[in-house]
Each structure stands twice: as structure tokens, then as C-alpha cells.
């Protein structure tokens, strides 16, 4: 008996069955207070079509899928190395080519062209709005959090706070809050940009300077608390923030320079172009930053803080800087969102939001700018797709089950993310071999 279970084949078969059973429950109907077992029985027993061939029950479909998974898994173990070697050989030439300068620039231009044409290719109003509110803005946020998490290696769970600060600053500066606008003047939204960036950066520094001395987990807890505090402030300071109702009178962006007059109105496309311009600026700036001495110093601190200090790098200063840059990016994203939607209220600035952005960064590839941009686009497009055209049995609250499952699978097969940063990729490889000093931070070893 014991022998049978020790067999690798049996283990694989059971793993496949377990994985598919979980998937079956995930995609099945929910239970309710009155019928608590309905979720369970429905998941397995509900009628279903066998890939459109004949009608049967869900468990048959999933049993078939589990067996298929077992077969593919076994085949992969048998021939996987050959397949991998062959594909590695096949892609080695294009990959080497893709690293050369002209090809990289060519690809960048092509991507840019597609990005600029996109609103003309996709005219569905849902997707046009989603492209701004749910994708472009999230790309900005992911870029910002990547500086903190990816470049500097700091776990920030309160990123939403800076986004909220940016949004509320916009409302304040444009005179949309119960509290008086600065100097009693209702400024144009463009003026909100520097003010929001400065305030978000300032709060990043004030929060970061004392807390970034802490190690690992403590920082995560403090930032988590900060995120909650900002939301609670927004909710409770009724006279200043408008309380839980927030405000819905934030004006749109507008431009009055001499004869040029332009108002960003209700349609999302002009906002799309405005946001894309900023996304490009941020990507360019962060790319240069990554390959500057600031970026190298971050890498040094992340890899071995003790060694970094010994060559004269002040870790605290660089960490606060990463924190401030991330915060100001989020503050800026807050300006865009507030202006575009005209509306802000506290319940949109939740811990779940911070975690969502973190998922984009981890999924895309911490420390890789291309990765986090792509990660944000893929995940946000995916969740918008599920929202817009939900497949049978999908409820909106299921989203995080799927994101969670996706991350688990990702961590197993591609731990450095969709497009891994080359430095991070090496670090993970070294950590797995037990080299490098990444582990000492956790065990508190001394030099």
C-alpha cells in the first residue's frame, strides 16, 4: 500500500486530481446561508457540456481534464528537457537579436504606434474607458510601486495612501472639497500635478524616514497601517474631505494657452492620450534611473546592505528616495483618476487596491520595467474582460481567487515574473543555490 503511494506516477495523478477538483470548486456556483452545501454539490454535480460534444455533468469534464493534465505532466517529465533545449536553441538567435539597440528601438516604436492607434481600433465605449481608468492608470501605479518593491526591495503595502493623497489634493486644489481651496482660488487641474506630487512625496519622506530603518516585515506592517489611516481620515474628516460621500465636482483637465483652448471632457480618448504621454515620460525616466548610479546603489543595497554600506552607500537615504519616487508616481496617478472620473470617495482607496498593484508588479517581474508594464496590461485587461463578458458561473467577487491561483502558478514556474529583470533573475537563481547574502537579512547574521 505504502509502495503504491510512494510511486511518482500515483503522486502526480493525485496532484492532478486535487488541482482540478480545486479548479472545479473555484469555477462552480456559490453556496448560500440557506443551502450551504450547494456550492459543493453544484460544483461537481451541475450539468455541463463535454466540450460541446455531448451533455454530461461537471465532474466528468474535470476528471477528463485531470487525466489530460497527468498525461501532459508525465510527457513533460519524459521529454521536457529535450523540448526545452530545442526551444532554447530556436529562440537563441531571435533573442540575441532582440537585445541589439536598433531592434529594441524598433520594437519600442512599434509598441508606441499600436498604443497610439488603439483608441481607433477599439471603439467599444466600455473598453475605451477601461483603457484609461483600469489599464493606463494602473500601468503608472505599477511603474511607481516597481521603484519601491523592484528596485529598492522594500515591501510597501500602503501604496494606496499616496494615490489617495494625489486624488484628494486634486479635489482640494480645484475647489471640489468642502474645505477651501488654497488662497481661495480654484486652480486648473494641471496645477494639481506638481502640488499632488509634492504632497505625496512629502508624506512618503515623512513616513519613510523613521520606518525605513526597520527591516522587512516591520516596514510592511507600518505601510499597511498608513494606508488604512489615510482611508479612515478621508472617511471621518467630514468637513475637510466630504466624508464617505467624497466629492463628485472635480473639474476636467483644461488647457488655455493663448489661442489654444482645450477641455478634456467626458469621452475617455483624450484622457488616454494624456495618460500615455505621462506613461512614456515615466518609463523613460525610470529606465534612466535604473541604469544610473542610483539604480546600481539600490541593487547593491538589495543584495547586501552591509557590503553596500562598507563602500559608502547610505541605505536609509536611498530607501527614502525610492519610497518618495514611488509615492509621487502614485500621487500623480491620483490626479489623473480624480480628474478623469470627477469623483472620489474613500471606499475606493482600500488595502485590496494596494495588493492589486503589488500583484501587477510581482506578476510582471519585480524590477523589470517592461515586465511590470506588461503585467499591468495583461492582468488588468484580463480582469476587465471577466467583468465585461463574464463566462458562465463567474461572479465578480471570484476575481481574487483567480488572481491568487495565477500568482501561485507563476511563483512555481516563473518566480521572477513574466519578463524577469536580469538582475533579479540572477538573484533568485543564486538564492536557490544558497549563495548570495539575501538570506542573511532574514536570519540577522552579522558581517
Amino acid at each position: 500500500m505504502k509502495r503504491i503511494f510512494a510511486s511518482a506516477h500515483v503522486k502526480r495523478l493525485f496532484s492532478a486530481l486535487a488541482a482540478l477538483a480545486i479548479l472545479e470548486l473555484m469555477t462552480g456556483p456559490p453556496g448560500s446561508a440557506l443551502t450551504p452545501t450547494a456550492g459543493f454539490t453544484g460544483s461537481f454535480g451541475e450539468a455541463s457540456s463535454f466540450f460541446g460534444i455531448f451533455r454530461t455533468q461537471r465532474w466528468v469534464v474535470f476528471l477528463f481534464l485531470a487525466l489530460a493534465m497527468y498525461a501532459i505532466w508525465s510527457a513533460w517529465l519524459m521529454w521536457g528537457t529535450q523540448v526545452r533545449a530545442a526551444t532554447a536553441k530556436a529562440v537563441s538567435v531571435p533573442r540575441a537579436a532582440s537585445r541589439t539597440r536598433p531592434v529594441r528601438w524598433g520594437m519600442a516604436v512599434a509598441v508606441l504606434a499600436v498604443a497610439l492607434l488603439l483608441p481607433h481600433l477599439i471603439t467599444d465605449p466600455f473598453w475605451q474607458a477601461a483603457m484609461v481608468e483600469q489599464i493606463a492608470v494602473y500601468v503608472l501605479l505599477a511603474l511607481g510601486l516597481n521603484v519601491v518593491v523592484g528596485f529598492a526591495g522594500l515591501l510597501d503595502l500602503g501604496f494606496v495612501a499616496f494615490y489617495a493623497i494625489g486624488a484628494y489634493t486634486t479635489a482640494w486644489v480645484t475647489g471640489a472639497l468642502p474645505t477651501a481651496a488654497p488662497f481661495g482660488i480654484h486652480f486648473n487641474n494641471f496645477y494639481a500635478i506638481p502640488i499632488a506630487i509634492a504632497l505625496a512625496m512629502g508624506s512618503g519622506i515623512i513616513l519613510g524616514a523613521p520606518t525605513l530603518r526597520l527591516r522587512g516585515d516591520y516596514l510592511a506592517i507600518v505601510t499597511l497601517g498608513f494606508g488604512e489611516i489615510i482611508t479612515i481620515f478621508a472617511n471621518n474628516l467630514y468637513g475637510i474631505t466630504g466624508g464617505s460621500q467624497g466629492t463628485n465636482t472635480i473639474p476636467h483637465f483644461s488647457l488655455h494657452v493663448g489661442p489654444i483652448k482645450y477641455l478634456w471632457g467626458l469621452t475617455p480618448v483624450p484622457y488616454y492620450y494624456l495618460t500615455i504621454v505621462f506613461v512614456i515620460l515615466f518609463i523613460a525616466g525610470f529606465k534612466l534611473l535604473e541604469h544610473s548610479r542610483v539604480g546600481r546603489a539600490w541593487t547593491a543595497i538589495r543584495e547586501d546592505e552591509v557590503a553596500a554600506e562598507s563602500v559608502g552607500i547610505n541605505p536609509l537615504k536611498y530607501k527614502v528616495m525610492a519610497f518618495a519616487i514611488g509615492a509621487s508616481t502614485a500621487g500623480f496617478a491620483g490626479v489623473v483618476t480624480a480628474s478623469q472620473s470627477n469623483t472620489i470617495f474613500p471606499s475606493s482607496f482600500t488595502l485590496q487596491f494596494s495588493i492589486n498593484i503589488l500583484v501587477l508588479v510581482i506578476f510582471g517581474g519585480m524590477g523589470s520595467i517592461t515586465g511590470v508594464v506588461l503585467g499591468a496590461i495583461v492582468i488588468q485587461t484580463g480582469s476587465m474582460y471577466l467583468l465585461h463578458t463574464p463566462p458562465a458561473g463567474y461572479q465578480p467577487q471570484d476575481l481574487y481567487i483567480y488572481l491568487g491561483a495565477l500568482l501561485v502558478v507563476m511563483m512555481i514556474f516563473r518566480p521572477a515574473g513574466l519578463v524577469p529583470s536580469r538582475r533579479r533573475h540572477r538573484e533568485i537563481g543564486l538564492a536557490e543555490k544558497g549563495e548570495g547574502h539575501m538570506n542573511e537579512v532574514l536570519t540577522g547574521d552579522t558581517p
Binding site: D304, A307, S310, I325
Partner: protein, 268 residues
């Protein structure tokens, strides 16, 4: 006449009940190759950590006299401040930025003392580019100096043990130090690497004018390099003098040379 680069005066360092350094008084002359020897656990690494701001001794004073007129009191300073003043070091278990290339490792040392300049970095203005070129040139010089030019683009974790040691020295030198602290640089290297290392250390002093403070278990290497030695045992200085004097010292023979610790080269 005496020009002390390091002056350690009655320093005591404790960790709870453990006394790592017990009333240690010693000094280093500018331009000297000085060695600190002693059995494992004697407090040698603790001394280095105290000299570089990593540990904060409870008693005594440590004065570093760099090139500028003002002496610096090390205790209470952060390691990066001590580095900026002109103290570089290597670690007993070498600590490279292991996912970075040899070139990048050295360059980080070469540029760390410049101001931060985020705006400069993001705009990549003329000053930033000039700084980059200066650091690159300095890095290449140092790669040449330690004989790693051919391995500039190798990831540091795939370098051989001896190469890593030399890279760590180059990274330290890149910060432009007055004194270089080497914690068991020959540990784990083979005889021919040891010989190269001896030559390199002497070259650092002779050609760059950097004083050397050395911890080493390999007696042959220490005795051929050091001009003067201190012997530590249980956190206390038990002897000092020239290599000849140390070889003849009864207390040293008893505490250290006579014991089995001589050739073990344990890491501790």
C-alpha cells in the same frame, strides 16, 4: 614624528556577557602594513567592525586621521560615513554584489561618494554623463590593477574564490581610501593565488600609498607582508612587535602558534 592613521584607545566591546574586545589599545602608522593575528574568536573581526562603524564599542575611543587635517572619532559614526572618510574593507566571508558583474561591483564603489542626484540621473544631463565616464575609467583602471580586466563582464558569483578576493579589494580601493582593512583575504585560496595576493597587497601600499590593516591566519603570508603585528587573544592584546619579535614571544607561542588553530583557517 609619529603619524597615526588609526588610534585605538582602551576600547571595550561587549555583547551581553561576551567581551569581544577587552581594553584594546593599538595604533597604525600611516603607510604601514599592519597585521592583527590571533586564534578564532579572539575578536579580530570585531575589531574591524568597530573600526568601520558596524559595531559600537561601549568604552574607549577610536580616532581615524584621514588626509584632511581633522581627525574623526569613529565610534557612533555609520559605516557609510566611515567609508567616506577614507576607510575601505573586505569581509571574512567575501561579500560581493553577487548578481552584478565584476565591472558593476567596482563601479558602485567608485561612484558611491558622489551626491545622489535623482533629477540628474533621470534627465541624464552632461554632468551625469561626465561622472559616468569618470567612474567607468576608474573602474577599468582598477580592473587592470588587480588583473581582472578580462573578467570585467563576468557575474561576480561565478568568479573563482581568488578572483572574488581580488575583486573585493578593487571595490574597496574604488572608494579612494587611505587605509584598506583585509579580513582573512587568503582564506580558501590556493598557494599560487596566495602568492598573487601577497604581491597585490604590497602593490596597493607601494603604488597607491594606501595603508594596509590585515587579519590573516596564514603565518607565512603574514610574516612576509606585515611590518608590525598585534596579537589578540580572548579580546585582549597580548603582544605586539615586528615579525621576528612575535615569533620569539613566549605568550604568543603559548596562545596561538603552539595551538592547533594555526592552519585550520576556520570561519568564525
Amino acid at each position: 614624528m609619529s603619524d597615526k592613521i588609526f588610534d585605538v584607545d582602551h576600547v571595550t566591546l561587549r555583547f551581553g556577557g561576551v567581551v569581544s574586545l577587552n581594553d584594546v589599545t593599538l595604533h597604525q602608522e600611516r603607510g604601514e602594513i599592519l597585521a592583527v593575528i590571533g586564534p578564532n574568536g579572539a575578536g579580530k573581526t570585531s575589531l574591524f567592525n568597530s573600526l568601520t562603524g558596524v559595531y559600537q564599542p561601549q568604552e574607549g575611543t577610536i580616532t581615524f586621521q584621514g588626509s584632511d587635517a581633522k581627525p574623526m572619532s569613529v565610534i557612533g559614526k555609520k559605516p557609510h560615513r566611515v567609508s567616506a572618510a577614507g576607510v575601505a574593507r573586505t569581509f571574512q566571508a567575501s561579500r560581493m554584489f553577487s548578481a552584478l558583474t565584476a565591472f558593476e561591483n567596482i563601479k558602485i564603489g567608485a561612484e558611491s561618494h558622489r551626491g545622489i542626484g535623482v533629477a540628474g540621473a533621470m534627465l541624464r544631463g552632461p554632468k551625469t554623463r561626465r561622472d559616468e565616464r569618470t567612474s567607468d575609467a576608474r573602474t577599468v583602471e582598477l580592473l587592470d590593477f588587480v588583473g581582472l580586466r578580462a573578467k570585467a563582464n563576468v557575474i561576480s558569483s561565478s568568479l573563482s574564490y581568488g578572483d572574488r578576493r581580488r575583486l573585493e579589494i578593487a571595490r574597496g580601493l574604488a572608494t579612494g581610501p587611505q587605509v584598506l582593512l583585509l579580513d582573512e583575504p587568503a582564506a580558501g585560496t590556493n598557494p599560487s593565488e596566495k602568492l598573487e595576493l601577497t604581491t597585490l597587497i604590497r602593490k596597493v601600499r607601494d603604488e597607491m600609498g594606501v595603508s594596509i590593516l590585515l587579519i590573516e591566519h596564514d603565518m607565512k603570508l603574514v610574516m612576509s607582508l606585515a611590518e608590525r603585528l598585534y596579537v589578540l587573544n580572548f579580546g585582549s592584546v597580548i603582544a605586539q612587535g615586528t615579525p621576528e619579535e612575535i615569533r620569539a614571544n613566549e605568550k604568543v607561542i603559548e596562545a596561538y602558534l603552539g595551538s592547533t588553530a594555526t592552519e585550520t583557517g576556520d570561519r568564525s
